[in-house]
């Protein structure tokens, strides 16, 4: 109990509180710049944290991460330029709301859902870290393969257009992810001798190129008269810029479901917020009273991916704090900062020196409150930031994106790749291929390939496939879930196909 109180008192000191406020403000501003991701924001702050006291540097970094997650949804909704792939799920319904002048309402929904999902997963982290991590730690490579296939299947079913286009896009992402050195043999794959490609294609140029630049290019096709118009117009009606109490209550079941999805997925290292956001979106659409509103500005469609996306952030720290295993890039960066400060997370830290762990828990909850309060003040400012004519905004986005793409690896080749991907994304949009699925395929391929190859090695050492599967109960459960999901999706597709075919007139005579 003393350790808990000591940890809380460390986080509630004036210096720590000031660090949290500064972190949230920086995070929201950086996140709202198209192309700057939450992970990038944390990465840029890690070296700075060394110069601060641990109880200032770590809360600031955590707060910055939370602020940037909310901030990254602002360009997604208002400009269709998400700062993270997870925010791409938010724009499906957020952008149509903004197009109808309800950008303020969409941003309030995002803020409410972000803080809800974040707080939900932080509470789960505090009370269930060891239990959830114990389940996640039982997942081996074969379970990862099934989980990723599960995620990809969900995504293809989510695609509103032709399923074959979704498959082509995902496999296109798989191909792009194969560029670089082979993870097992080290053989060069599709690098054609270019040393800049040995580490593979960078995620940042891919994200900015396919999501931000391609959207700018698509918009540049419009007549000049339309480019002179303002990017987003906001309705002056209060109800279009505000989330009422009734709307907040109506969103609660969706928020609980999405936060739970985000927390479970986030506690599994490597899957990340993108999978959680899309699975939660799909689940919200499946359980919605009015699924036809999804894709046209449903508040549930905005809230679900945001809550799940933010719930992943807290849950990712479960394996990190309980076992010392980082769940994603941001958690790995936080691990780096903790190690710099002389704190080694893991089961021994829980037993021998729990004060820093409880201080981190308290700082996370406090950062959520600060994120909400500052976010409310930041929304009107964000609305003003994006209310400039497109013909001025788009050149600005292109040069800002160039700086963002260059900053991560200090490479002009990344800037060139970004523009090439922007052109490719524009062509894909013209041919109606979903670029977001390409990105998901790209992000999940390294884990899929590594886990797939490890599984084959494990199967080789077992007495065949059946014996291998029978020896892994978690794998059997996952295979069962995947089978049921496949059948459900097929049933839904067949129903949709029959619904689309007009009935033959029956001859009553």
């Amino acid at each position: 109990m003393d350790a808990i109180l000591e940890g809380i008192s460390l986080s509630f000191s004036f210096a720590a509180l000031a660090a949290i406020i500064v972190g949230v403000i920086l995070g929201q501003i950086l996140g709202s710049i198209p192309g700057l991701t939450a992970a990038m924001a944390v990465a840029l702050l890690v070296p700075f944290s060394f110069y601060f006291d641990p109880w200032i540097g770590i809360p600031m970094m955590l707060a910055m991460f939370k602020g940037s997650l909310f901030g990254s949804s602002i360009p997604a909704i208002l400009l269709r330029t998400p700062g993270t792939p997870a925010a791409a799920a938010t724009l499906i319904d957020g952008n149509p709301l903004a197009q109808r002048g309800k950008g303020g309402k969409a941003l309030h929904t995002v803020l409410y859902a972000s803080v809800f999902g974040d707080t939900f997963s932080d509470i789960c982290l505090i009370f269930g870290a060891s239990t959830l991590a114990a389940i996640a730690i039982r997942f081996g490579p074969s379970e990862y393969v099934i989980l990723i296939l599960f995620a990809l299947l969900s995504l293809v079913s989510l695609n509103r257009g032709s399923p074959w286009k979704g498959v082509v896009a995902i496999l296109g992402g798989v191909l792009l992810a194969c560029v670089g050195l082979d993870p097992i043999t080290g053989t060069e794959r599709l690098t054609f001798g270019n040393p800049e490609l040995f580490d593979g294609i960078g995620l940042i140029p891919m994200l900015i190129g396919f999501l931000a630049i391609s959207e700018v290019f698509t918009q540049l096709e419009q007549p000049l008269k339309q480019l002179g118009e303002r990017t987003v117009t906001f309705s002056t009606r209060r109800e279009d810029n505000h989330l009422s109490g009734a709307e907040r209550r109506a969103l609660l079941p969706t928020l609980f479901r999405a936060s739970a999805i985000g927390t479970v997925i986030g506690s599994l290292p490597g899957l990340g917020s993108t999978v959680a956001a899309f699975v939660a979106y799909n689940e919200a659409r499946r359980t919605a009273k009015h699924p036809e509103e999804f894709g046209h500005g449903s508040l549930h469609g905005v809230a679900a991916p945001e809550a799940a996306n933010n719930a992943v952030g807290g849950a990712n720290l479960i394996p990190l704090l309980a076992f010392g295993i980082p769940g994603d890039v941001a958690a790995a960066l936080i691990l780096g900062a903790l190690l710099i400060q002389g704190i080694t997370p893991g089961p021994i830290a829980f037993r021998d020196n729990p004060v820093p762990i409880y201080a981190i828990f308290a700082a996370m909850l406090l950062a959520n409150l600060v994120n909400y309060l500052i976010g409310i003040g930041f929304i009107p400012l964000a609305k003003r930031m994006v209310s400039v004519p497109k013909r001025l905004l788009f050149p600005g986005v292109l040069i800002f994106a160039s700086a963002g793409a260059y900053a991560m690896r200090g490479s002009l080749f990344d800037v060139q790749l970004m523009f090439a991907f922007g052109l490719m994304g524009w062509l894909m949009a013209k041919l109606r291929f979903p670029t977001v699925l390409l990105l998901i395929g790209f992000i999940l391929t390294p884990i899929l390939e590594r886990s797939g190859r490890q599984t084959l090695i494990l199967v080789g050492s077992a007495d065949g496939w059946l014996a291998f599967i029978a020896s892994r109960p978690v794998l059997m459960i996952l295979l069962g879930i995947l089978g049921v999901l496949t059948l459900l999706i097929l049933r839904q597709r067949i129903k949709m196909r029959y619904a689309a075919i007009p009935e033959e007139p029956t001859d009553s005579s």
Binding site: V168, I184, E221, F394, L398, Y406, G410, F419, R432, A500
Partner: protein, 165 residues
Amino acid sequence: MRPDRREAVQVAALLVLALVFGLVILPLGIGLGYGNTGTGLSPRFMPQLATAGIAIALVVGLVQTLVGATPTDTAAARLSGERHPLRVLGAAAICMLFASVGFRLLGFYIGGAVMVMVLTLLLGVRKAAGVLLFPIMIVAAIYLIFELGLQVRLPKSDWFSGVPL
């Protein structure tokens, strides 16, 4: 050309591209290394699997397009109306030119200001404030955020040594 026929031609062209990639470029771009010495799967396995999957999906798409079973995509409405693809190609060419040559020769800040200036002119801005002042404001903001705030050094020009831009 009718939209469904045009789509069939596009899908067929993509199918040819996928086949050329799978049969010609992929074997040229990936040596077999240790992959064929019994240590596990070949390094070509994943790319070949993906390419084969793309080809199969495109064949399915081609058949669906030819028999008219492809569902109408909602994105089609967004892309309809008067379009100016040449402007996009022009903007992309300007961006690529600066990313490959301009930023190296002029430095990011001067090169960036010139790039924004050219792009605003391309987009029909003719007022001096928009063409001259806006690019300077944008690169000044980038300088403040990246160079001063985040301590990230963006490319500098060799031509203007001693000038921190």
